[in-house]
């Protein structure tokens, strides 16, 4: 399903020889980019390759050290985002720029509020405009929901609507599919096609090869700040793209040895709980995870996965049901009690739940174990023990840059932040690992790495519960896949026999029990 709405005679964006220095570091080193009207142009590169820097230059957030930018044939200097918006450029950032306590409508109109007399905001009109745009492009959102209450997928749609509301003709989408469900991705690609059919150009920053193949017309590859190539997507395979991106051959398959699962570690029966609105979201959820197996929970965002994980990690109270860990009651226990019973997790939001970003990496490495020897004695911290432990983990888990043990975790790249969490949780050596969207926003190399450690935990006889919106990830890792829909399991298939269409159908609530 390719786009082909482009008109090669009309060039909308042309960036020539873009160089951007941060101090002595070359984030962009002579990058070229040409985008035509109605074209979906992917920019592919690993984390830190310079994709976002390039787009921030186009959006006026950074000034290039050298190089030229042409918009619709005119040479321009984009001093700031306002200039970019004026030129018809809109950007949906990877980390959303939304005001959490505001509603979807309030966020979308922010800075461009329609007004009535005396400067009062015309909310009725704004709301109607938002509904109109969302209908036109098939972006289903509740205009009155508060951002802090809605899922990541919904938040993203609000971001896209915000850009459309501002009348952008050139849309930059920074990792738009990093957090959303397979169904939402299909919808998003459809929306992108609708937009290009109306003559809009889309620049898609991603490291997901499959989406590039499905959505994009052309693809520009960058590696370590350097321009590698621009290819017609029809002419290359996913494997070609991956190799160009990382500069070496990439292994897609996860190597899993056959093992027979052992006794039951986690047993969840008839679990019920409420969501933030006090609406029942888990309605009789069951799952069993045994030693040496990975159970994948597949499902569309908003069917109770978030709440399930919160209940299992002690952040939310269930209203009914039973949970046992190794046969012991683990129902509505505190996070600390659950940790002591053998539950560790890789949280969905590594910056919110996984790390204290202001803390040094070595402090984050011991956050659950600070009270234990050798990290402290009688309430007094042993800095050297913590540092040595952290230094070992940096080596063992290949966390980069080396020597950053004492730096704040917030200064690491996303992939390395995730490595810190994985190093910590794997080293905790508990019976159950709950991994929630563990590769969100990571590049191919880092994904390979995360998957390897998850499978290694299984091979060591740990129980793994994988909750992910990435169907590919669930399918390639899981020994069994349970599909969640409206708060309960509606189907269960063996990982090796899983079929994307069948799963997709079950995720949408239309599946037969297998």
């Amino acid at each position: 399903m390719n786009n082909k709405n482009y008109d090669l005679n009309v060039t909308t964006v042309e960036m020539k020889n873009i160089v951007k220095m941060f101090g002595s570091f070359k984030a962009n080193d002579g990058i070229q980019l040409t985008v035509h009207k109605g074209e979906i142009h992917a920019i592919l590169g690993e984390n830190g390759a310079g994709k976002s820097t390039l787009m921030n230059i186009l959006y006026g957030l950074y000034q290039p050290t050298s190089g030229e930018i042409y918009i619709n044939g005119q040479k321009v200097v984009i001093e700031n985002p306002n200039k970019a918006i004026e030129l018809g450029i809109g950007m949906v950032h990877q980390h959303f720029m939304l005001v959490p306590p505001f509603t979807v409508t309030e966020n979308i109109i922010l800075g461009m509020e329609p007004t009535k007399s005396l400067g009062r905001v015309d909310f009725a009109k704004a709301r109607q405009q938002v509904i109109d745009i969302s209908k036109r492009y098939g972006l289903n959102v509740d205009p009155d929901a508060k951002i802090e209450d809605i899922s990541v997928g919904m938040q993203q749609r609000a971001e896209i609507l915000k850009v459309l509301y501002r009348g952008a003709d050139i849309l930059i989408l920074d990792e738009p599919t990093a957090a959303i469900t397979p169904q939402e991705i299909v919808e998003l690609i459809q929306i992108m096609h609708n937009l290009t059919a109306e003559g809009k150009s889309i620049i898609l920053i991603t490291h997901k090869l499959k989406e590039i193949k499905e959505a994009a017309d052309f693809c520009t590859i960058v590696r370590q700040g350097k321009y590698i190539n621009t290819v017609n997507v029809d002419d290359v395979t996913e494997h070609d793209l991956a190799s160009m991106m990382v500069g070496r051959n990439v292994e897609f398959k996860v190597n899993k040895k056959d093992i027979t699962p052992g006794e039951v570690v986690l047993d969840v029966k008839d679990l019920h709980c409420l969501d933030y609105r006090d609406v029942e979201i888990l309605r009789g959820f069951n799952v069993q995870v045994r030693r040496g197996e990975i159970i994948g929970i597949a499902g569309i965002d908003g069917n109770g996965q978030t709440e399930l994980v919160e209940v299992l990690t002690g952040l939310r109270k269930a209203t009914a049901g039973s949970i046992t860990m190794n046969g012991k009651d683990a129902y509505n226990k505190s996070p600390k009690e659950l940790f002591d019973m053998g539950v560790t997790s890789i949280p969905a939001d590594r910056q919110k739940h996984g790390l204290v970003l202001e803390f040094a990496n070595h402090d984050n490495m011991v956050i659950q174990n600070i009270d234990n020897t050798p990290f402290s004695k009688n309430g007094v911290i042993d800095r050297k023990a913590i540092f040595d432990h952290s230094h070992d983990l940096f080596e063992k888990f290949d966390i980069r840059p080396r020597g950053a043990e004492g730096n704040p975790s917030g200064s690491l790249s996303g992939g390395n932040q995730q490595k810190v969490i994985i190093a910590r949780e794997v080293t905790n050596d508990k019976d159950l690992l709950i991994a929630v969207n563990p590769t969100r926003g990571l590049d191919v190399g880092a994904i390979e790495y995360v998957h390897r450690y998850i499978v290694e935990q299984r091979n060591k006889g740990k129980a793994v519960l994988l909750v992910s919106f990435e169907l590919d990830e669930v399918m390639s890792l899981s020994d069994r896949i349970d599909v969640i829909f409206e708060g309960k399991i509606v189907g269960s298939v063996k990982g090796s026999e899983a079929d994307e269409n069948q799963l997709g159908l079950m995720m949408a609530g239309g599946g037969a029990h297998a």
Partner: protein, 359 residues
């Protein structure tokens, strides 16, 4: 991103102390303008100001002991709460409660000094801890915003103190609106010989030693203990702390209790070392509120607070007697606080650092 060597200039402009000193310099410049407008020569006025701080043993002990001690402690109270993600604007009330507790024990409990002084301090500490912990409890149990409840608690403490001062058994009598004096056994004074040798006046009290001890203890808690680790984790990222099994509610209450304890010690020292009584208030005295300024000037670091407390206290003292209106010092302090508050902006000017990094 590869790490590159920092030049000396970059090291300086990345250091928070540089911006504090810069802010102090700006504060003095603005103060100079105020002095000039008021018709004083700023240079002679500042010269007089420093002379009034350092010139005589008596002045030195006023500036660095009597005036600085309470600000070091309330500054430490506020700084500690900042480190742990809560904002103790209630140091004012905790100070008052500490003073009341100390004065009552100091008047009524018959005991030798070696027992009575610690008893007065302990009573004040417990009262301050309770005063802070109640606010913490209201916050974690009922979600009451700590800033609002603390402002209320400041007034409760204020009127409670006035109530106690006017009790028949407590007031000094003869139509005067203050309490009886505390027993001599409860007063904290230095040995006269020692203090003269150090170049202070005999009136100097030993509260400064308690304040310095408090700085050391708080630094140790924040930097070296698991308690400090947990408090900081909750302060920086409550979600991650809870997720890692740290009881955030409990830690918020502990933080406010410790913070309240520090402010209450300041109140007790004011009674045991300076006033020997508590007077009826005509208005809030501002020890707790000025603690916020001191905490900011000290960059919420215990050692920084110690220096900031000396700085603030000595200028407060000098401001009352260097000639020009004492409000000039308040203007300076206001400006310093303002410049510190906007120092991230100053930092941008100096380092030309764009927001964010590569990718």
């Amino acid at each position: 991103m590869p790490k590159k060597e920092q030049s000396l200039w970059e090291k300086i402009t990345n250091n928070a102390v540089f911006y504090t000193l810069l802010s102090i310099l700006f504060g003095f410049l603005v103060g100079a303008i105020a002095l000039a407008i008021a018709g004083y020569n700023p240079i002679t006025a500042y010269g007089e100001m420093f002379y009034r701080i350092f010139g005589r043993p008596n002045w030195r002990s006023y500036a660095f002991i009597e005036y600085s001690t309470p600000y070091i402690l309330t500054g430490l109270a506020v700084a500690f709460s900042f480190k742990t993600g809560v904002f103790n604007i209630g140091a004012e009330g905790q100070f008052v409660i500490g003073a009341v507790a100390a004065v009552l024990v100091g008047i009524f409990v018959p005991a030798p000094a070696v027992i009575l002084i610690p008893l007065c301090l302990i009573a004040a500490m417990l009262a301050g801890m309770a005063w802070g912990a109640i606010v913490g409890f209201l916050k974690v149990r009922f979600g009451v915003n700590e800033v609002l409840s603390m402002i209320m608690f400041n007034w409760i403490a204020y009127y409670f103190s006035n109530f106690v001062v006017n009790l028949k058994s407590v007031e000094v009598g003869g139509g005067k609106t203050w309490t009886k004096l505390i027993q001599d056994n409860a007063k904290i004074t230095f040995s006269k010989d020692l203090i003269a040798k150090l170049g202070f006046s005999p009136k100097a009290h030993a509260g400064i030693l308690i304040a310095i001890a408090a700085v050391v203890i708080i630094w140790y808690i924040i930097d070296k203990t698991t308690l400090g680790y947990r408090l900081k984790a909750v302060g920086f990222n409550r979600n991650a702390a809870v997720f890692a099994g740290i009881n955030a509610d409990r830690n918020v209450m502990i933080a406010l209790a410790i913070s309240g304890c520090l402010a209450a010690i300041a109140g007790a020292i004011q009674v045991l070392g300076v006033n020997y009584k508590v007077s009826q208030f005509a208005g809030q005295e501002g020890y707790g509120f000025n603690g916020i300024t001191v905490a900011l000037i000290g960059n919420t670091n215990p050692w920084g607070v110690l220096l900031a407390g000396f700085f603030f206290g000595s200028l407060k003292f000098a401001g009352t007697r260097f000639g020009p209106p004492s409000e000039v010092v308040d203007i300076m302090m206001g400006c310093i606080t303002f410049f510190i508050a906007v120092s991230s902006l100053l930092k941008e000017v100096f380092t030309h650092k764009p927001k964010g990094g590569a990718d």
